[in-house]
Symmetry: C2
Subunit: 142 residues, 2 copies
């Protein structure tokens, strides 16, 4: 019984296209072998993922270790997709970068007057589309 066909690996072009349909993602950070995960609203294009962050845990983590993993997905009862990216983050500091980021359709989960923009330069991206099908029988009774 072939069951692997329920998962399809997508191209990086398809990965970026899927990201353009979503605003909600998550980043994973790591400091001292302790992983952390944070939900973000993001904008993805041109090899970069941009999000806003108020001062706090996310920015502190990134200041110590700027290596990030990112994930976004969408599912319904039949299946869905997931995109995973890895890259390096930097906090935007130049007026030009910040003014450009101000034009992006980004919103923060926490309304705040004080925030920074974080830009992830993506080094690796992968995407899978999958269909929830009948389970294979673990004990071999086909």
């Amino acid at each position: 019984m072939v069951v692997g066909s329920a998962v399809e690996t997508l191209s990086s072009e398809q990965a970026w296209e899927l990201l353009s349909t979503r605003q909600l993602g998550r980043i994973a950070t790591s400091v001292g072998d302790q992983p952390e995960i944070f939900p973000i609203n993001f904008y993805a294009a041109d090899g970069k993922i941009v999000f806003r962050s108020a001062a706090g845990a996310k920015l502190a983590e990134i200041a110590v270790n700027n290596r990030l993993a990112f994930e976004a997905d969408e599912t319904d009862d039949d299946g869905g997709w997931s995109v995973i990216a890895k890259g390096h983050a930097r906090i935007l500091v130049s007026v030009r970068d910040i003014e450009a980021a101000d034009q992006l359709p980004l919103r923060s989960w926490v309304p705040t007057l004080k925030y920074d923009y974080v830009e992830i330069t993506v080094d690796e991206i992968s995407a899978r589309r999958f269909t929830f099908g009948p389970e294979p029988d673990r004990y071999g009774n086909q």
Copy 2:
């Protein structure tokens, strides 16, 4: 202008209750300062989060560093919630544990005959409910 009221910190009881309404979450792992993030289907109850994993990157990461972060969320146009947990993972090996896990309503993203159950013992859990409201004006023009 008070804007912080759009975010509400929930109790750990509420966090577990929200987790019982979702199947899709993500775990973050970390090995050698490189964070990774993986989507999972999970079952959460009694201070534990259980998921299935085929042999591969997730299990390899957990074998090296069993500290995990976990996240699940739900959003619509008006707002949503996010639950974040941190804990330690172990792969279930006893027949009794595996038989108990076989009874859980868990499915894998990738249909496979060979998989392990991973159980996260949660040390910390937090949850926030938020409402997307009008943006505060960053430049103070109220």
